[in-house]
């Protein structure tokens, strides 16, 4: 649960300040970026997400490293399941 997953920001929404579309291993989901209000992310930035909120920005290199670790440990699926929100779907 305290897992923080690296994800790439693929879309921001000018009409909705604190929302972003992220991608993790091909899975997309909307997240909240309010916690990065002091230094808002741009499209293409990498962030660590925890329970649907971006916690901090990270470099692409760190993100890819961490994804590799998750994949290697076979934990990527658990991460994706979390990101998909257990089938609750997007609104």
């Amino acid at each position: 649960m305290c897992l923080a997953i690296p994800a790439k920001i693929v879309e921001l929404f000018p009409e909705e300040q604190n929302r972003a579309l992220i991608e993790v291993a091909g899975v997309r989901r909307h997240i909240d970026t309010s916690l990065l209000a002091d230094d808002p992310p741009k499209t293409g930035d990498w962030v660590l997400i925890h329970v649907g909120f971006a916690m901090s920005k990270i470099s692409e290199e760190q993100a890819l490293d961490q994804i590799q670790t998750l994949t290697m440990l076979g934990e990527q699926e658990a991460a994706i399941q979390e990101v998909q929100g257990y089938g609750l779907g997007e609104t």
Partner: protein, 376 residues
């Protein structure tokens, strides 16, 4: 099962583990506590213990939010959802945690409307989609998670959403560390500090551990190399006779923490005078309740909360394991009455709980080795 020697940076890992062996005084026994359950998980997952000399003991701390919750709070949360109009929502980790009359999942099987959510904002969406129902979010977590709950409550207020509430079980890490240091049966030489909690609170709140208690603490990342490097940094401090707060996880943790996160928490939460922790008793100012200005969304104010106190099953030693006094295998129920499939205590449920981590990696590894006739 994958162990660290298959890992991508054997060179770096080997170097760090060599450095640990060089720095550790063979005449000394070291006890380092990893406060955070994420670290406990990583340590077992990667088999890091096998890379340490035998005189370095890693003691598992109280930083698993599911594990520290007393059973009475689970019962309280479930009792609110007895009302057929209420949808009970919680993170996946909570679903199999036993209450007196079963876990949330077992209640679901008996007809309660229980939903697993990934984010507190999913619970809010569910409330918007079901205006004729009341959606209650059973919130757990340390400072890593509390800001997300806070922002969700701020959003609910902005929307004027009347069919949503939060049952706050958020706890704070510093008082728990203090309780461990105050505990007479505990001797810890240094701490591996929580990584993601520190993203929010920063490193300053740990300064008293170094200054007043004379114990080194290194805030650490979660990759195998991070944990090993943090152990190197702790040993360097101990060897130099120093005690300070260091930040190994600089790439993610700012020294000052996250201002937006702290702002959101301050807007919504206040400290409870005291809160009960599983096995650790009441710890003062160790948990967060919802401020009066958000009373409309506070499940504890909206519902009748029985506030029952339930003691753990007698033979269960979750409390001792949580405090690091006992190792998981030293609990009489470990691997017998209590397994991840049929957990007695929450430490066997959450992947961050030390009993589950120990069972899934160490215990299974030992069983495999025994079955192929290898010496364990």
């Amino acid at each position: 099962m994958k162990f660290v020697d298959e890992f991508r940076e054997p060179g770096v890992i080997g170097k760090a583990s060599g450095e640990i062996r060089r720095l550790a005084d063979p005449k000394r026994h070291y006890r380092f506590m990893e406060v955070c359950g994420g670290h406990t998980h990583a340590i077992y997952r990667f088999g890091l213990k096998d890379l340490l000399p035998s005189n370095i003991e890693l003691v598992h701390g109280p930083g698993c939010p599911v594990c520290v919750l007393p059973m009475g709070r689970i019962d309280d949360g479930l009792s609110m959802a007895q009302d057929p109009n209420v949808i009970f929502t919680a993170f996946g980790d909570m679903m199999r945690v036993p209450g007196t009359n079963g876990s949330p999942l077992e209640h679901k099987a008996r007809g309660m409307d229980v939903r697993i959510i990934y984010s507190p904002s999913d619970a809010l969406k569910l409330a918007q989609k079901n205006p004729d129902k009341h959606v209650m979010f059973f919130a757990i977590g340390f400072e890593t998670t509390a800001p997300s709950t806070a922002l969700t409550l701020i959003r609910a207020k902005e929307l004027g959403l009347s069919n949503f509430s939060v049952f706050s079980n958020h706890v704070t890490i510093i008082p728990a560390i203090r309780a461990i240091l105050d505990s007479p049966d505990m001797r810890i030489d240094a701490f591996i500090g929580p990584g993601h909690v520190s993203t929010v609170i920063g490193c300053r709140p740990y300064e008293w551990i170094a200054k007043n208690e004379g114990k080194p603490i290194v805030v650490s990342g979660f990759e195998p190399v991070d944990v090993l490097q943090s152990i190197v940094m702790l040993l360097q401090q101990l060897q130099a006779g120093e005690a300070k707060v260091e930040n190994q996880y600089k790439r993610v943790v700012p020294w000052e923490g996250s201002r937006p996160a702290l702002r959101a928490m301050a807007e919504v939460f206040e400290l409870r005078p005291y809160f009960e922790w599983r096995g650790m008793g009441f710890i003062s100012q160790s948990a967060l309740s919802i401020r009066d200005s958000y009373a409309q969304w506070d499940a504890e104010k909206r519902f009748q909360v029985p506030g029952v106190r339930v003691t753990d099953p007698k033979a269960a030693q979750c409390g001792e394991v949580l405090k690091g006094v006992l190792k998981p295998v030293q609990c009489k129920l470990f691997g017998k009455e209590c397994t991840p499939e049929r957990p007695v205590g929450a430490l066997m449920v959450s992947s961050e709980g030390s009993c589950a981590a120990y069972f899934n990696y160490e215990h299974r590894k030992a069983a495999v080795l025994t079955s192929i006739g290898a010496a364990v």
